[in-house]
């Protein structure tokens, strides 16, 4: 079943810049998709259409058959989005409060909010510091807190915008590990990045965006040799003709 259907999606910013142009694609439930492209190619712009943060000029995005612009709250609940700058997406004064922010917005009752917060913090392994103040956390912990914040809304689709930027090696591994667990648990995963190395070993599908258009869309091993034309570095192992290994090994 297609959980995301995008038809002829275009967006032009008010200053005339073309963000994305004529994107048509569909994503199946449970897929692990990596979206790559050079800076300014339109990855963020595309992702922000999935939960109605940006609305299309032409075309439409449908989630499970329902258009995003027809029911934006539903789209935001269904698509959890982790932004590039972990610092500026933390709202609460404590780790617990921050995770509770989403469920509270959904007007769930207090018990349910608490249950979801505890469950999400357990998933990202932050339950022991639930009363800590967020700005004292490390970069990796902040990113995981952001993930917990969206997990508490129980989304079916998880969208990560450049999740690995400014994370150290253990931070990358831990986030990757948890992302894979979430994928195994049935979530559909979309990751935007310009650095394929860290994540491509786990992807089912690779999309290359260039100048706002999808220029390649295939299984990673089919197109990995050709990505450098679009400002994305081919992973080392692939250059050397070897199989790409996971960062977790």
């Amino acid at each position: 079943m297609n959980i995301i259907e995008v038809t002829n999606l275009s967006h032009r910013f008010s200053d005339g810049t073309i963000g994305i142009e004529g994107i048509t694609l569909s994503i199946q439930e449970g897929e692990f998709v990596v979206i790559a492209g050079r800076n300014g190619s339109g990855k963020t712009t595309f992702l922000r259409h999935l939960n109605g943060l940006l609305l299309p000029d032409t075309g439409a995005v449908r989630l499970g058959g329902v258009s995003v612009s027809r029911d934006i709250p539903r789209a935001r609940q269904m698509v959890g989005m982790v932004f590039q700058d972990a610092d500026s997406q933390i709202v609460g004064e404590t780790v617990f409060d921050d995770v509770a922010f989403g469920p509270e917005n959904l007007c769930l009752n207090e018990c349910e909010v608490k249950r979801r917060v505890i469950k999400s913090l357990e998933v990202v392994d932050l339950i022991d510091i639930a009363d800590q103040r967020p700005h004292l956390l490390s970069g990796g912990e902040k990113r995981r807190l952001a993930v917990a914040g969206i997990l508490a809304m129980e989304p079916r689709i998880l969208v990560f915008d450049e999740p690995f930027s400014d994370l150290d090696y253990p931070g990358v591994r831990q986030l990757l590990h948890q992302t894979l667990l979430l994928h195994k648990a049935g979530h559909t995963i979309l990751i935007a990045t310009h650095d394929l190395e860290k994540v491509i070993a786990h992807a089912d599908r690779l999309l290359i965006i260039s100048d706002g258009k999808v220029v390649m869309d295939n299984a990673p091993e089919m197109i990995i040799k050709d990505v450098e034309a679009f400002g994305v570095r081919e992973p080392c192992a692939s250059r050397l003709g070897m199989e790409i290994e996971s960062w977790l090994n």
Binding site: L53, R76, F83, Q89, I90, G92, D97, E104, P134, M153
Partner: protein, 253 residues
């Protein structure tokens, strides 16, 4: 910037942690009012109350006092200014020492009062979850139909969240400018402007990103309402505090 962050919640299970926030706020206000017009005898009683509160709250007070060290510098400063200012009034020579004593007494009194209010504030903040304070603010604003309580509460919590971020940002900007030799410019106005403008731009950008992130998490003013429950112990505490305030105002007259 740890100095400015001594005021934060510290989890625990003491009686003070479990009291209803609304009662804690009322008690805090009452005690602050009484200590602002208190004299030594009443202040001594309040000091004892503080010791008792510290004991039952199980807070790590040694480390808290260390975090408050800049506040003590401020107190000393206030004390000196106060003592000198009072003795500077024109008096006849032989009376000078008496007036100086008056200044020292005044200064000590003010510092004592300030210290008591700050310590009570610290105990209050340390034993109360920020989200509970927010809920209580909403509750107190409910009777005023023209004040959007929910919005005020959200703004409050965002400010608390943003202050450390802005401070960090400021330090980063200062360091970056220092490493490019801004100290060679002697004009303080120039340096201030060069600091404030980039700081403001970065803060607004952060605020913008935060707004988008909040939107992505379905922010609206219709949210889960937290229930505040008062128990017998809350009423007893409030009653005790009211008695204490009356007692304090009697002692000094």
């Amino acid at each position: 910037m740890a100095e400015l962050t001594a005021f934060h919640f510290r989890p625990g299970t003491s009686l003070l942690h479990t009291l209803d926030v609304r009662f804690k706020i009322l008690s805090f206000v009452l005690i602050s009012i009484s200590s602002f017009k208190a004299y030594p005898s009443a202040l001594s009683v309040l000091t004892l109350v503080i010791f008792y509160a510290i004991l039952i709250s199980c807070l790590p007070f040694k480390s808290i006092l260390k975090e408050l060290r800049y506040f003590f510098v401020l107190l000393v400063f206030i004390f000196i200014v106060r003592a000198m200012f009072t003795s500077a009034s024109p008096v006849v020579d032989f009376k000078e020492s008496a007036v100086a004593w008056q200044g020292i007494y005044d200064g000590a009194l003010i510092c004592w009062r300030l210290l008591i209010v700050v310590l009570f504030g610290l105990i209050f903040v340390s034993t109360t979850r920020p989200s509970d304070i927010r809920t209580a603010v909403e509750w107190f604003l409910m009777p005023f139909p023209f004040i959007p309580g929910k919005r005020v509460a959200t703004m409050m919590s965002l400010i608390m969240r943003f202050v450390p971020l802005i401070l960090d940002q400021a330090r980063e900007t200062i360091d970056a400018q220092r490493s490019r030799g801004v100290e060679n410019r002697k004009n303080p106005v120039y340096r201030l402007i060069k600091l404030i403008i980039p700081l403001m731009i970065r803060t607004f950008k952060k605020a913008d990103k935060l707004a988008v992130a909040m939107e992505a998490r379905c922010y609206s003013e219709k949210r889960t309402n937290k229930a505040l429950l008062s128990a017998k112990s809350d009423w007893i505490t409030l009653f005790g505090v009211i008695c204490l305030s009356i007692l304090l105002s009697i002692i000094d007259t």
